[in-house]
Amino acid sequence: MYGWIWRHLPGPTALRATLAVVLALGVVALLLFVVFPWVEPMLPFNDVAVDPE
């Protein structure tokens, strides 16, 4: 998987490394700001309120 990505990145090694870092940061940002906030409410480990009937 990572080997495949690396082989498909264009340019010399320096450019490839830069692109790889940018890709990794993009994925992290996507996870932190889109995926995790969406997933979090479905995970029941941070409920703090008692349920009012």
Partner: protein, 379 residues
């Protein structure tokens, strides 16, 4: 797995002698060691340049071929005798196989890196990479929960704080009912430090609690008889109630509204109720804190700290844990109840802190929380 596949894939298409030695491929990393033999080879290459064209495809197949040549110019012949004596492997191959054995290994790397080796190996590697990636994603989620949400909530809390200040300075909004999700009060806990303060939002939905502690909408307002219920996160999202378990009986919790400061104090713990007057009861800070059950038996389950299951919504009812108690409002004690998750990092239970109103100070112009702390002796 690959060990079994290698012979298959190799024997069928190319029944060459070099390829039949497939299994050693898996030992590829060790090649440099047996490669001492190879040193011998390259040495041969150099001494007999004529042989190169013949050996090229085999010895140059590996990228290492070129790198190794500088090493052995003088060494090979000096080294060789000790090798034969000290190492167990080379002696076995050396006499007959050396010319053939090393060349069979070099071809392996190109076929692996270029063509991806066998399909099975590629699949296994990909699955492994996916698992490692998922592990990293889970770790990142932990970081997100414990740190990133704090940064996000800190920003929201700053905004809510500024909004509350402007709201309070605006006369027209003085006596309106709180708006859902919007701050309407501040909470201070002097024992957590003079700078510990959060705004209290209206409602206990996720959006309100992301900003800071939230008020159970159906419960009383600060200072009123009954139960002013407040929920807050214990982990992440600013974690306002992270240290709620450290509160001891008689610790102050201050609520600031547009016109007043309300000083609540944590009620006696269950094991302190008996003999309260002889022990903590004599502490001046506990002057107005007495076990509620001494005067009203309906409060027989209301203690400073209680752990309950999440379905006990009656923890914030006017008389805690007695939702159907019909007590006239004039007899209700003015309580405040804080709720958070328990144990930490879990939502199996809820920690409930019950406090009782002991003092109320109208806000004078220019009066600050620091002035109040001096007044109540917590500075």
């Amino acid at each position: 797995m690959s060990r079994y596949e290698d012979p298959e894939t190799r024997e069928i298409p190319v029944p060459n002698p070099p390829h039949r030695n497939g299994p050693p491929r898996t030992q590829q990393p060790q090649w440099p060691h047996p490669g001492d033999l190879h040193d011998y080879e390259t040495h041969d290459d150099r001494t007999q340049p004529v042989m190169r064209p013949v050996r090229r495809p085999m010895s140059a197949g590996a990228a290492h071929g070129g790198q190794r040549s500088p090493r052995p110019p003088s060494a090979p012949q000096g080294r060789r005798p000790p090798q034969a004596g000290s190492r167990s492997r080379p002696p076995a191959d050396s006499p007959a196989t050396p010319p053939k054995e090393p060349p069979t290994k070099p071809p392996a790397p190109p076929s692996e890196s270029g063509g991806g080796g066998s399909a099975g190996r590629t699949a296994v590697r990909t699955v492994g990479e996916i698992f490692i990636t998922l592990g990293l994603v889970v770790l990142l989620f932990v970081v997100y929960e414990l740190y990133i949400t704090n940064w996000m909530s800190a920003k929201l809390q700053r905004e809510a704080n500024a909004d509350l200040d402007s709201q309070w300075s605006n006369e027209r909004e003085l006596h309106t009912d709180p708006i859902d999700g919007r701050a309407f009060a501040r909470i201070y806990i002097p024992s957590f430090g003079a700078d510990w303060s959060f705004t209290i939002q209206q409602g206990v939905d996720a959006a309100a609690l992301e900003v800071g502690p939230g008020h159970y909408k159906t419960t009383a307002m600060p200072g009123e008889p009954g139960n002013f219920g407040v929920a807050g996160h214990r982990v992440g999202k600013g974690a306002p109630f992270n240290d709620l378990d450290l509160l001891a009986s008689c610790d102050a919790v201050v609520i600031e509204t547009v016109d007043s400061f309300y000083v609540y104090r944590v009620l006696p713990m269950q094991d302190e109720v008996a003999g309260w007057a002889q022990n903590q009861g004599s502490d001046p800070r506990c002057a107005d804190v007495a076990p509620l059950q001494d005067t009203q038996s309906a409060y027989d389950q209301t203690f400073g700290r209680v752990i309950v299951t999440p379905d006990r919504g009656d923890a914030v009812s006017p008389v805690p844990y007695k939702p159907n108690e019909a007590m006239p409002e004039s007899e209700l004690a003015p309580l405040m109840t804080l709720t958070t998750c328990h144990p930490q990092f879990s939502d199996k239970e809820r920690m409930i802190i019950h406090t009782v109103l002991t003092n109320e100070y109208a806000k004078e112009p220019g009066a600050s929380y620091a002035d109040l702390l001096r007044k109540i002796g917590e500075a």
